[in-house]
């Protein structure tokens, strides 16, 4: 691992002042469950690490029925799971956090880190860059793409977004707060994720000298929500496909549904098709299946990942059925 300078600012303003104007100069260190491995493998080699450990304002969980939930970026998965308010009001968020197995990761990994973790694409991890290219040629379309994207994969990015929390947070209409050199801005989580067009970009809408400070989730009133993950392996692995749904029911009919797929595209993938299929319908096997089918209607699988189309379809269907069954928050 390359040597680096280690900084421990005590305020978010001081932290961003320590970040460089180019990606790669500095990295923000929270739990380090992803970043340290990337550094040890020379995938990233920052000259400076900016630790968030001493910035008190980045922690904390606050819930108010009127305004909803605020999660500080350095809240750990364990803290999230230990929160009775979250358990009561956002059961699908708890499901998502439970998908992050192992107490070691839960007690160290942070919610901000989950949103900003880098793709698991093995070409990226082997040093071929974010877009997995060798001599300018993309490796994924003809390579081992069994875990890669089936949606939004027209290139040059083929990886899937690895976040466990993002699909359900987007489905719930979450926003994030970003600290920059000039101050604080808010951005919807949906718009926080972007598909990079060059290997020098990142997969989230931050400037190199900005950082995520808070996650804001609207109140869950009347919302049915659920997350469903399809996995080859229960623990210490990422799902093959996931779907998060949130909707209201009025008179037994679905109102304003949100369907967001995970692990199928370079960004968490809101499916307008599935939402459209679901809107105004009663929830049942048939309508849920229709929505699942609609969610993958525009899928363009690569040479080795056609099976993920079916998995995403089933994940959407099961998430819808689970959400309807689960009852809404009063």
């Amino acid at each position: 691992m390359q040597a680096f300078e280690y900084a421990r600012p005590t305020t978010a303003e001081a932290a961003v002042a320590l970040l460089g104007s180019q990606w790669g100069d500095s990295e923000v260190l929270a739990g380090g469950t992803d970043l340290v491995s990337l550094m040890k493998d020379y995938v990233v080699s920052p000259k400076r690490l900016v630790s968030l450990k001493d910035i008190k304002s980045l922690g904390g969980i606050e819930y108010k029925p009127k305004s909803g939930l605020r999660l500080g970026a350095t809240v750990t998965f364990q803290e999230l799971l230990d929160s009775p308010e979250i358990a009561r009001n956002y059961p699908a968020l708890v499901q998502a956090a439970q998908g992050v197995t192992s107490p070691q990761i839960r007690s160290r990994g942070t919610v901000g880190g989950d949103l900003c973790q880098r793709p698991r694409c093995w070409y990226f991890r082997l040093g071929y860059g974010l877009l997995a290219q060798s001599d300018g040629k993309p490796l994924v379309p003809d390579g081992d793409n069994r875990y890669h994207a089936i949606l939004g994969n027209e290139g040059p990015a083929y990886f899937v977004n690895p976040s466990s929390l993002a699909p359900i947070l987007i489905a719930l209409g979450a926003k994030v707060r970003v600290q920059g050199q000039q101050g604080v801005r808010e951005v919807s989580l949906h718009n926080f994720f972007i598909t990079p067009k060059s290997a020098e970009e990142r997969e989230y809408a931050l400037q190199p000298n900005e950082m995520l400070t808070d996650i804001l989730v609207p109140p869950p009133e009347g919302i049915h929500m659920a997350l469903y993950e399809v996995r080859q392996k229960e623990a210490l692995d990422w799902p093959l496909a996931a779907a998060a749904v949130a909707f209201k029911l009025s008179g037994g009919k679905v109102d304003d549904p949100r369907v967001v797929l995970g692990h199928v595209a370079p960004v968490p993938w809101p499916s307008l098709e599935a939402e459209h299929a679901l809107e105004g319908n009663t929830v049942g096997e048939a309508s849920a299946d229709e929505a699942g089918k609609a969610a993958v209607s525009r899928a363009t699988p690569l040479s080795k990942n056609a099976y993920k189309v079916k998995l995403a379809h089933v994940a959407v269907k099961r998430a819808i059925l689970a959400a309807a069954k689960g009852g809404a928050n009063a």
Partner: protein, 949 residues
């Protein structure tokens, strides 16, 4: 580099340290504080071996910057036992076998401690969830769960009766034989307290760090190597390349095709090109970057079937068509057998490459003493100290007696440390060149590339049976993708053919085996060596045949049992044969009759069998020397010391030695000490491979103990004025005739036997009998064993028919181990084998792309955690082999293979599809279900069509 001054609080004690700001806590604990109980398994937060408690929470110290934790309370394994009193968890792990190799144990105990601090009475599910971040490769987690539950029980008792004494080896009032007793491993204290020393824990004064430069090309000539810039770097003490080390070596006498560093060409990505020894890891790494290698890239071969067609750019010039070795066996007459068959099935099976992934990375420390013509001492994580000594002597061109190999604790082997791994030689040559001790420890990625695992295997299998299911003929064409060097290759391919036999009675067998070279790391011996994939194919095809015939899968196996004692058509002698009992016990326990074919769609049960050798009857290097010699020394006090070259690698080899000697001499186990696996002090044992230790070293230990007993009784008889035949040794005392009062204690008699020299030494040995050494045909030497173990297993699965996800609900595994000298350890071996086979069945796979490994990490390799490891119910069957020590046979490998076909057979029962390639992923299951539905629709349409007429 910025340094920081911090105070670190570890196990309640403050330490003032000046540290590099970027130093990780694991490195500080191990290097600065000497707390080596925290283990490095992956160094990238995948395995949990480095777990420490931070303010009571389990965290992985390999990703924690030490400087960030000055305010925290850190607890390591060294602080768990207070004033030498073991914690209930440490006792639980000893008593219930939770620590095999012990490498994951400190992390697991700490994680469990954190759990119990919060929830004193957790459920099984909560324990498994809590331990899901701590990987273990030995146990299959069943005994780990039992160990934690035992600790909970001890804690519960101590709450009820505070102050009750707890200790590990509680002496019972009357002596009972340890043979057949569930005794804790003799090294369990070291392994549960963090006190045990593994190779990477060793630090010698002046020790340098060694690092190896690996090839970035799969196949390339080396035009030139320039090491000047590396040598010029301050802190570099030695740089070596192939020019310095031209001697060829290999584990098999017929396969000396490796050199320590590549000479003239590299043959796989990761091949060893050069190495440096430097004052620090950072300097060593920088030096590697400064070595200039001029490559001439060559076309490479990655697919064995394409490689077999090669005409140019051969991987080794002397191996035409890139075939390392091919064997063609024909016993009986398969054509006649097929002609008399009522049903013939032909299938192709394709099994992915898998690897051992022992939690302890390979590590070697070498020290060269130039005085007196030079002597070399090597501490290494090896299963074969003797072969390592020989190879070091050969490649360094030193006399064998000047090379000493010491095996510290080994954190798992599974065959991956059963041949010489290049770092072992590299460390030694660097130490000699630098005249300083050198340590090389592989990174996890290097471990994956060092490999020597189970090759990808393509099997074309043809089986003919009569209407009643009786086997008439079997023909197998097996191609193994062996990688770039020979290694154990010819043995692996031979096992795959030879051990088609000795399971069932097959009158006609033909085998065409090809061990093919490709530009990937060499494969080698892995648990169930050579037999596993062929057994999967055979047992899966047998079920397919049973399905066509309408015969119950258990019944078709019964109809083909061997009738021992017998010699198979290819010359394998079978004396004890517990397979029928294994099968019946599994059928009984699993509820087979009530479940097979009767569970709802999506659920199924399957069974299968497997077997393995109890040591190869023929040594790797032909010789008249016994396979094992064990020496015993009796002190006048009656204490006994065993000297054995056998290599404990977590399987319990040390413990079984002590049990056998203590049992035969009727001593308490704590009066028997063991010195093992140090070539300067212990006699030759060939090593821990082919499941040979209990059978062979055990027999040698028993032989030695019997001699010692005879000498002691003779001495007692002389004093008592009778003959030794009048005396018997019981419970540490010597009795005359039918006298119920002892005539003398064992110690007293031992003192007499030791005589004026105060010293008595005997040695025992073991060589397999000549009638167990197999047929006299080419390749006939591989496969013969003095005894075979047998296993039958039933597996229940649930298949999600919409996603292809597979859940294994239950495994019942019966293993014929001859006699369980230590049932606790035998169950641990059976469970570990089954678990490792299950990983191969469902998840594990080395994914290569143009010679590059895509998943060279424990997460990416999909090593199963507690959460996808089902409960395994072991059943021990004791067939009492006439030649095994106390009747014992092997236990550590034979149960691996059966679980794979049992899973695939269960999937057939659940959803009606046959999966013929490994691993069985959701993708493959989903695809097969879809194809089946399509073909059913086609058939239905066809029926509808014809019904119109």
């Amino acid at each position: 580099m910025t340094t920081v001054h911090i105070q670190l609080r570890v196990n309640g004690k403050g330490h003032e340290l000046d540290l590099a700001a970027n130093k990780f806590l694991l490195d500080v604990l191990r290097e600065d504080l000497g707390l080596t109980g925290s283990k490095r398994g992956c160094d990238d937060s995948s395995c949990g071996a480095c777990t420490v408690l931070v303010n009571g929470e389990p965290q992985m110290s390999c990703i924690m910057l030490a400087a960030s934790h000055a305010d925290d309370d850190i607890a390591t394994i060294e602080g768990v036992a207070v004033d030498h009193h073991l914690d209930p968890l440490q006792l639980g792990f000893a008593e219930e076998g939770g620590a095999q190799c012990g490498y994951c144990t400190p992390g697991i105990i700490l994680t469990a401690k954190s759990l119990l601090a919060k929830y004193p009475e957790p459920t099984d599910a909560e324990i498994n969830d809590a331990l899901s971040g701590n990987l273990c490769r030995c146990t299959g987690y069943t005994q780990i769960l039992a160990s934690v539950k035992r600790a909970i029980e001890i804690l519960r008792q101590s709450r009820l009766a505070p102050g009750a004494a707890n200790g590990l080896h509680k002496s019972p009032v009357a002596w009972t034989s340890p043979i057949g007793a569930r005794v804790p491993m003799v090294d369990s204290r070291e392994k549960t307290t963090g006190a045990g020393i593994y190779t990477d824990d060793i630090r010698l004064p002046g020790m340098l760090v060694g690092k190896v430069l690996h090839s970035p090309h799969a196949h390339a000539g080396i035009r030139a190597i320039n090491v000047q810039e590396a040598l010029a770097l301050p802190g570099v003490r030695a740089v070596l390349t192939g020019a310095n080390t031209p001697v060829k070596y290999g584990i098999l006498p017929i396969g000396h095709d490796e050199t320590i560093f590549a000479v003239d060409k590299v043959r796989y990505i990761g091949d060893n090109v050069a190495a440096v020894a430097a004052e620090s890891e950072a300097v060593a790494e920088e030096a590697l970057r400064r070595i200039r290698v001029d490559y001439d890239v060559l076309p490479a071969y990655f697919d064995p079937e394409k490689s077999m067609l090669a005409e140019a750019n051969l991987i080794h010039d002397e191996r035409p068509r890139n075939i390392e070795k091919e064997y063609h066996h024909h016993f009986g007459d398969v054509e006649a057998g097929f002609a008399r068959s009522d049903l013939i099935r032909e299938d192709r099976f394709d099994c992915a490459e898998v690897t051992h992934a022992a939690l302890e990375p390979h590590s070697t420390v070498a020290r060269f003493d130039p005085a007196d013509a030079g002597s070399l001492t090597v501490w290494s994580s090896t299963q074969v100290p003797y072969y390592l000594q020989k190879t070091l002597a050969a490649t360094l061109q030193m006399p064998e007696e000047r090379v000493r190999v010491i095996k510290p604790l080994v954190g798992g082997g599974f065959g991956g440390k059963s041949e010489v791994i290049p770092l072992e030689l590299a460390a030694a040559v660097l130490a000699r060149r630098a005249a300083r001790p050198v340590k090389i420890t592989y990174t996890r990625e290097e471990v994956f590339y060092a490999h020597r695992g189970r090759p990808r295997t393509i099997i074309d299998l043809k089986t003919g049976v009569q209407r009643d299911g009786r086997l008439m003929a079997v023909e197998a064409r097996i191609v193994q993708d062996g990688g770039a060097y020979c290694g154990y290759g010819p043995v692996t391919i031979l096992y795959s053919g030879q051990l088609l036999n000795a399971m069932y009675a097959i009158p006609n067998v033909k085998f065409d085996g090809y061990r093919v070279l490709t530009n990937k790391p060499a494969c080698g011996a892995m648990r169930g060596h050579g037999t596993v994939n062929a057994r999967f194919a055979f047992e899966a095809q047998l079920d397919r045949i049973a399905a066509v015939l309408g015969v119950d899968p258990a019944e078709i196996r019964r109809r083909n049992f061997l009738k021992p004692p017998c010699t198979t058509i290819n010359g394998l002698r079978v004396l004890s044969y517990g397979y029928p009992e294994c099968l019946e016990r599994v059928v009984e326990r699993s509820g087979w009759r009530e479940k097979r074919g009767k569970l709802p769609y999506g659920r199924g049960i399957g069974l299968a069998g497997s077997h393995y050798v109890s040591g190869a009857a023929n040594p790797i290097i032909r010789s008249t020397m016994p396979q094992t010699t064990v020496r015993l020394r009796l002190d006048p006090s009656g204490e006994v010391t065993i000297f054995s070259g056998a290599a404990e690698i977590g399987q319990g080899s040390d413990t079984v030695h002590v049990q056998i000697v203590a049992g035969e001499l009727s001593l308490e186990m704590d009066r028997v000490k063991l010195v093992a696996a140090d070539t300067a002090r212990t006699p030759v044992d060939l090593g821990s491979y082919s499941s040979r230790v209990t059978f062979m070293a055990g027999n040698a230990a028993l032989d030695a103990a019997r001699q010692a007993k005879a000498r002691v009784l003779e001495a007692a008889a002389r004093r008592l004025g009778c003959t030794a035949a009048d005396l018997r040794l019981e419970a540490g005392k010597i009795f005359r005739d039918e006298d119920s009062r002892p005539a003398m204690s064992f110690s007293e008699a031992a003192g007499l036997a030791a005589g004026a020299e105060q010293f008595l030494e005997v040695s025992g040995s073991y060589s397999p009998p000549s009638d167990a050494q197999g047929g006299k045909f080419k390749g006939g030497g591989v496969g013969p064993s003095p005894a075979y173990s047998y296993s039958a297993q039933a597996v229940e699965v649930t298949v999600d028919t919409h996603t292809g996800e597979i859940t294994v609900d239950r495994i019942v595994a019966a293993h014929d181990c001859g006699k369980a000298i230590n049932p606790l350890a035998v169950e641990g071996q059976v469970e570990g084998s089954v678990w490792m086979g299950l990983g191969q069945a469902l998840q594990e796979e080395m994914l290569w792309e143009n010679g590059r490994l895509m998943n060279a990490g424990l997460l990416e390799y999909h090593s199963a955690s507690t959460l996808e490891s089902p409960p395994i119910e072991p059943i021990l069957v004791e067939s009492n082999d006439p030649e095994g020590p106390f009747g014992a046979k092997e236990a550590g490998e034979g149960s691996l293979a059966a679980v794979i076909p049992a899973v695939s057979n269960a999937i057939y029962d659940a959803v009606g599809v046959w999966i013929t390639s490994l691993p069985i992923t959701p993708e493959k299951v989903l695809k097969a279900i879809k194809e089946k539905q399509k073909s059913e629709i086609r058939t239905q349409n066809l029926r509808d069509h014809y019904s119109d007429f």
